[in-house]
């Protein structure tokens, strides 16, 4: 019966109730988005780093992966040493470079030299992967190689899968000649996790990129990724410490460390999200308090009559609290939908920022985040209804009836 009466009370002023609900929905949507934003970037970054299960990144000493153009010398020995460690089950060396495309619509592309069997940079979505080299030695210039390219590469270069193109390195701009060139068959299209969506990229065998860059790069890599088993944080940390002590030319960064560094860099985002979330919670609170107080003030006579006909104080308290909860509950549900739509929209805008990895998301849906936001709003709705509910339940019956009679 309390539910029926609460619903009836809210229906009494449908426009007012709808507007209040809409206000709460907007506040709830903002709160949900802020909760999603504050946790989403970390979640997204973590899942990005762990996409292929590599928990360690080995970069040139004192740098972050691909933070500079620095490379690691003595790469083959380092990779061999890592592979010899029984707790490290996979090592993926990568060499990054910018290659020229003499017969394409785009002048150059970012290239990743990878070992296809262990690479952790892309997933083939169309066509086939780069075949493993027949002999893992230095290539000759005449041998044709293979590449997986990004969708942006295909769209901007005008090439299609199956095309054979030329790539060059060491371009002399004045003579318009390249130090080294190679024919490349585009075998497939892939999604590159760490490369910004707007950047054309191709993945070639590591040996091909090293050959293109010249003899100085035969034993270099930009980065190596390592997978540790078991993958618990203690094992990863042990492996990281081992690399730090045995390989003085590199810096090993674990996923957790990288996430901590990103969290530090993006802490202002979380603070902003916290402040905006708190503001939206406050707005929702005030909306519910205002509307329920208004409703109680309008119904002083009715509430006095309810008390006169035998409704206990606690009954009136429950009744008014229920009204507040129904209002905030309905607003929150609407806000949940609105929040998801706006998060998706905002995410698509933010993802277009240049320089961000294609797989990075700002707003990540998680039931935990939604539950946290809903719980906050539930408590807020409960507290918001508490003051008017208490006032209604403490109404002096005879005085309220007298004042009603006077008009």
């Amino acid at each position: 019966m309390r539910f029926t009466l609460a619903w009836a009370t809210l229906r009494r002023h449908p426009v007012r109730t709808s507007l209040a609900m809409l206000g709460i929905a907007v506040a709830a949507a903002l709160l949900l988005d802020m909760v999603m934003l504050s946790t989403g970037m970390t979640t997204s970054f973590r899942s990005l780093l762990l996409t292929r299960g590599y928990q360690l990144r080995v970069a040139p000493k004192g740098t972050l992966p691909f933070d500079s153009e620095a490379t690691i010398t003595g790469a083959q020995a380092i990779v061999a040493a890592l592979r010899a460690n029984p707790s490290i089950v996979a090592v993926s060396p990568t060499l990054g470079a910018t290659l020229s495309l003499p017969d394409s619509r785009i002048p150059s592309t970012f290239a990743l030299g990878v070992e296809a069997a262990v690479q952790g940079d892309y997933t083939v979505e169309q066509g086939s992967d780069v075949p493993p080299p027949i002999v893992d030695t230095m290539e000759s210039g005449t041998a044709t190689t293979h590449a997986v390219v990004s969708a942006t590469f295909l769209a901007r270069s005008g090439h299609v899968i199956g095309d054979t193109i030329s790539v060059s390195a060491g371009l002399n701009a004045q003579l318009r000649t390249a130090a080294r060139s190679k024919r490349v068959v585009l075998t497939g299209m892939g999604r590159f996790y760490y490369i910004p969506a707007e950047t054309p990229v191709m993945a070639l065998p590591l040996t091909s990129v090293r050959w293109l860059l010249g003899p100085g790069y035969v034993d270099r890599m930009s980065l190596a990724m390592a997978e540790v088993r078991p993958g618990d944080s203690a094992s990863v940390e042990r492996a990281r410490t081992w690399i730090a002590t045995t390989q003085p030319r590199v810096t090993a960064i674990s996923t957790e460390t990288a996430i901590r560094q990103v969290e530090e860099r993006l802490s202002y985002f979380r603070q902003l999200a916290f402040v905006l979330g708190a503001i939206s919670l406050g707005i929702g609170f005030l909306l519910v308090t205002t509307l329920v107080t208004l409703s109680v003030n309008e119904r002083r006579g009715e509430i006095a009559v309810l008390r006169a006909i035998g409704t206990q104080r606690i009954g009136v308290l429950q009744q008014v609290l229920l009204e507040g909860l129904m209002l905030s509950g309905a607003g929150t549900l609407a806000g949940l939908l609105l929040g998801l739509v706006t998060a998706r929209w905002l995410n698509s805008i933010l993802r277009d920022f240049p320089g961000l990895p294609a797989s990075f998301d700002f707003f990540v849906w998680s039931p935990d985040a939604a539950l946290r936001a809903l719980l906050l709003l539930f408590v807020s709705g409960l507290l918001a209804g508490l003051l008017p509910a208490w006032r209604a339940s403490s109404l002096p019956i005879a005085r309220a009836l007298r004042e009603e009679a006077v008009g």
């Binding site: 009466l5 104080r313 009954g315 005879a398």
Partner: protein, 241 residues
């Protein structure tokens, strides 16, 4: 006459209400009001009493005191043997729920609930099961002549019909005492007369009725008329039994 019984005709009937030197003062805005001044009044079980007098004479305040929604500043109000000033708010509310029915001048029906739902409210408060409530509501609305208007909302009913719904609501838990504050105040003469006829019917069925009116003609429908003036009983007359 004893302290706990009054004479109704030749038979001694136990009092349902006893007022002893009841005073009630309160402040309205900034103005102190001495609404009830030393009233002594006994009302017998099954009586039909009109409290009348000019506006501001303390009628409604006295009714509130009898209905346990207010307590006297001094003196005692005893309803069904219980001193209202000594009841906790919880006890007084429960007492009203089970023993007292209220009817108000402005009906005070919940506008977005149907007639049946309005009558159902005190039944639900009393903890009656849903199915049982439905049967009781049908019975009560049938009694007040609104058996075919169960699902109508107050706005779809005339003033007289709304007041009948309010009476059905007041009778929901079978109270021994029905208190009405200007029950015909918002009704035209014919509707008011038919409502008084319903009150007479309730009286014949054994309900103790006390109603407040400023209209001397309406007051004549009661068996006993208590006239107040300036917070005191000016006259207490009994009509034909």
């Amino acid at each position: 006459m004893t302290s706990d019984s009054v004479m109704s005709g030749a038979i001694a009937v136990p009092s349902v209400i006893q007022c002893e030197k009841v005073e009630r003062r309160y402040v309205m805005g900034d103005t102190p009001v001495h609404a009830v001044r030393g009233i002594d009044l006994d009302i017998a079980r099954g009586d039909f009493v009109a409290i009348t007098g000019p506006s501001g004479c303390g009628k409604s305040t006295l009714l509130h005191l009898l209905g346990t929604v207010d307590i006297p500043t001094s003196g005692r109000v005893i309803v069904d043997g219980r001193d209202t000033a000594r009841m906790s708010d919880r006890d007084a509310t429960d007492f009203r729920l089970r023993h007292i029915g209220f009817v108000f001048q402005r009906f005070y029906l919940m506008p977005t609930l149907s007639a049946a739902e309005n009558v159902e409210l005190p039944l639900a408060e009393a903890g009656m099961a849903r199915a049982e409530r439905r049967v009781r509501v049908r019975e009560l609305l049938g009694y007040v002549g609104l058996g075919s208007r169960l699902d109508h909302r107050p706005t779809q009913l005339s003033g007289g019909e709304q007041q009948r719904v309010a009476i059905a609501r007041a009778l929901a838990n079978g109270p021994s005492l029905l208190l009405a504050d200007e029950p015909t105040g918002e009704l035209d003469a014919d509707t008011g007369a038919s409502l008084l006829e319903l009150f007479a019917q309730l009286h014949r069925d054994g309900t103790t009725l006390v109603f407040v009116t400023h209209d001397a003609v309406v007051a004549r429908a009661a068996k006993r008329v208590v006239r107040l003036h300036d917070g005191r009983i000016a006259s207490d007359t009994r009509g034909a039994p």
